[in-house]
Symmetry: C2
């Protein structure tokens, strides 16, 4: 047992913990907006395209107010030409006087633009398919037609004095030269931002970074990005887009949208707070995230996914023995997010066979009992033994500890128990806090 010849002894040169944030913004990304991003919240547009979504006017207003209170920069609404009520709802939300700017999302067409600018929105998000798939099977137009329509719509919206974004659709399956051409045209006219949309959810992070970097060298305006989550990369793609110089990210609450949706607001917050906690805390009321998610989940009749970032029921629950031990010493050992930033609580799940004696010792202390380390190890083995037989809950563990404590404290005055523990059976499988909810979404 020795280090092979030719290798130096290892000495750590790591600076003090507090100064280290290796997962923060990359200093080599000089165009990065990781610490200077904005959110275009699209629950009331993309989210309305979620299979389960039917938002009444009252619900839309409630969601818009909650989003505004959370601190999103923009709120995007369904096109007013989708239906009569969609138009009225758009007008109603514009009149609420929210801090967030109100946008509506339309096809690149004068018919839509004329209706949109009359609703009172602060800006219009225009989109048109640019991939050969969409040009062939959706609108059937060529790139010259797209460019001419775009110029007409953009000049019209600008003449009304409101913001305008031009986005391609299915950008990652579009021809790069076509894309750069059209973006340069609209930038020259003077749009507020151009949009890149991964409409089918095919993009991967390094590809996103490359496209954003390339586009950044072609246009002066801001870049907005929209990522679907079909292949599970919507949060990561948003992050790399910001690293590459994009400034605005489209999100929805819980990511609801077409198919399995887009970048979720909560997931993006998790990513961004890990990168620059101060910036995120200064802009967004993270402690309102859970209520916001519950509001939207209720209105579209879904449960919060069990594995949701931040608000999943066990996002801050630590179970394995070595994890629990370290968390008790310093939560940063196994946590990159701080639960209290979100108004949430950390749990140690020690009622199971993977538990370790450090966690049990901590529980012994909580119960105001006095056991030595050796005794804690012995009682931990008893807990593991029962944990091998069936799921445990916190009462099981407490009973075993109290019973053991009584045995070792007053050996003379207690009847022999023959190893039988007084444990109520048929209890819920988890500890008290978790056991309240019998099945998780």
């Amino acid at each position: 047992m020795s280090i092979p010849e030719g290798f130096q002894e290892i000495t750590s040169t790591m600076p003090p913990l507090a100064q280290v944030n290796p997962y923060g913004p990359n200093p080599s990304d000089y165009l990065s907006n990781v610490s200077n991003f904005q959110i275009i919240e699209s629950t009331l547009r993309e989210g309305e395209q979620f299979a389960n979504a039917f938002f009444s006017t009252e619900t839309k207003i409630e969601i818009a107010k909650a989003l505004d209170d959370f601190g999103v920069d923009y709120i995007e609404l369904t096109s007013p030409v989708s239906s009569e009520q969609s138009r009225k709802d758009c007008e109603a939300i514009c009149k609420l006087g929210l801090k967030a700017k109100i946008l509506t999302h339309i096809r690149c067409h004068m018919d839509d633009a004329r209706v949109a600018v009359e609703t009172g929105v602060d800006g219009v998000d225009v989109v048109i398919g640019t991939s050969q798939f969409l040009r062939q099977y959706s609108h059937g137009k060529d790139m010259n037609y797209i460019a001419k329509s775009a110029v007409e719509v953009i000049e019209y919206v600008k003449s009304k004095g409101i913001e305008i974004r031009f986005s391609s659709e299915d950008s990652f399956r579009s021809d790069l030269v076509d894309l750069l051409n059209i973006y340069r045209i609209v930038d020259k006219i003077g749009v507020n931002r151009v949009g890149i949309a991964d409409t089918v959810g095919c993009a991967n992070p390094r590809q996103v970074y490359e496209l954003v970097r390339t586009l950044k060298s072609v246009v002066k305006c801001d870049i907005e990005c929209h990522f679907h989550n079909d292949t599970g990369c919507a949060i990561a793609n948003a992050y790399t887009a910001l690293e590459g110089g994009a400034k605005l990210i489209d999100v929805s609450v819980l990511g609801i949208g077409e198919r399995n949706g887009i970048t979720p607001l909560g997931g993006l917050m998790a990513r961004m707070v890990a990168a620059n906690r101060e910036y995120v805390l200064s802009k967004y009321k993270l402690h309102k995230l859970r209520d916001l998610e519950n509001l939207v989940a209720e209105s579209v009749q879904v449960n919060i996914p069990f594995n949701n970032p931040i608000t999943g029921f066990c996002a801050f629950t630590h179970k394995a023995g070595i994890h629990a031990k370290a968390i008790l010493a310093n939560p940063s050992t196994y946590e990159i997010l701080i639960p209290s930033d979100f108004g949430l609580t950390r749990y140690i799940h020690f009622a199971n066979r993977l538990t370790g004696w450090n966690a049990i010792k901590s529980r012994v202390d909580q119960l105001n009992l006095n056991l030595s380390d050796e005794q804690c190890k012995e009682v931990t083995n008893k807990i593991k033994k029962l944990g091998d037989v069936r799921p445990l809950n916190i009462d099981d563990v407490d009973s075993i500890i109290k019973d053991y404590h009584a045995d070792v404290s007053t050996p003379m005055f207690k009847p022999k128990r023959n190893g039988i523990l007084k444990i109520p059976h048929d209890l819920p499988p988890l500890d008290d806090e978790l056991g309240k909810r019998p099945r998780y979404g």
Copy 2:
């Protein structure tokens, strides 16, 4: 309305659709294993650290067989020193004669190694914390101690003729020089693979790519990666790790694990099948994914998340009018995955106010009715009008269409209806296929 001066007319130079896979492997990644990766399936190790998990022996065997049938390359099991039953279960699974290689996961310690090699496993995965956080608050050892322990354990496991992996823990918060030093030492001894672990879920994709690329220049052995999902990047990080030259990815079914878990098997399959469909289909039985997820979800008492990649209830449901129109013409317009690859079905959700007349025309055809395009547009407006008032289902739409058809076909013989439609109320909010499940996880 014209293209500004100085801009060329745009001509598309896009090659035919079938030859284009811009979201496939990047040709510049000459070390990429995107088309040559392996899966280490850890539902029975990392997954057992999920708050809700209690796997009986029978359940473990059922899950192991299902994973093997799916085609995973390795199955990783809980350390045999966790509890007496954990050791027995490990031995039992080794005796099943599965095609997949069986691994167990232990601390970097001879006490654990001696027990592990006696269980009959094909390999041992050794892990030790290397970040200053873990060195200070978990095991309390310095890098020299870690290196010496590693050498001893690795040589012992190798002497038993089974596979050995050495992994650091919390790799992305570890000092880079420390990491490369220890990896070079263990590579020189001759491990089968070294592991990088994003234990706290802080890593981002480009950072992963850089670390893997750097490590690839230091070691000859394979590289395995393990990503937690706290900040929503576990799938993307796995993909960029493969791009950088990692070969093996740790996953669990539905991503279950500590906190909100790790890279999910299904999500990784979605990502990889988008990159190289032939390779993935040749190795893994994707049509068994849903049953596998249901088996694990049931055993840990969770629902499949509503937005799960591939198997989320609406992952292949298209709603907005322009989406539905294009999907009817060619599903690839808005789908990067093919539902039938997974034994699943595509849905068009046309019973809502966002619907378009192309989708309604398609429904008219399905009902064997005959309406002109203009008539389809008119009936679509009626559907939108009711869709503004309340959620619709497929029966609502069919009633409106049939009623309209009867009106326009036999105007003389029908009593005046005054716009009142015969639509049953109190129906479930969605179309038939979706409406069967009243609330989604």
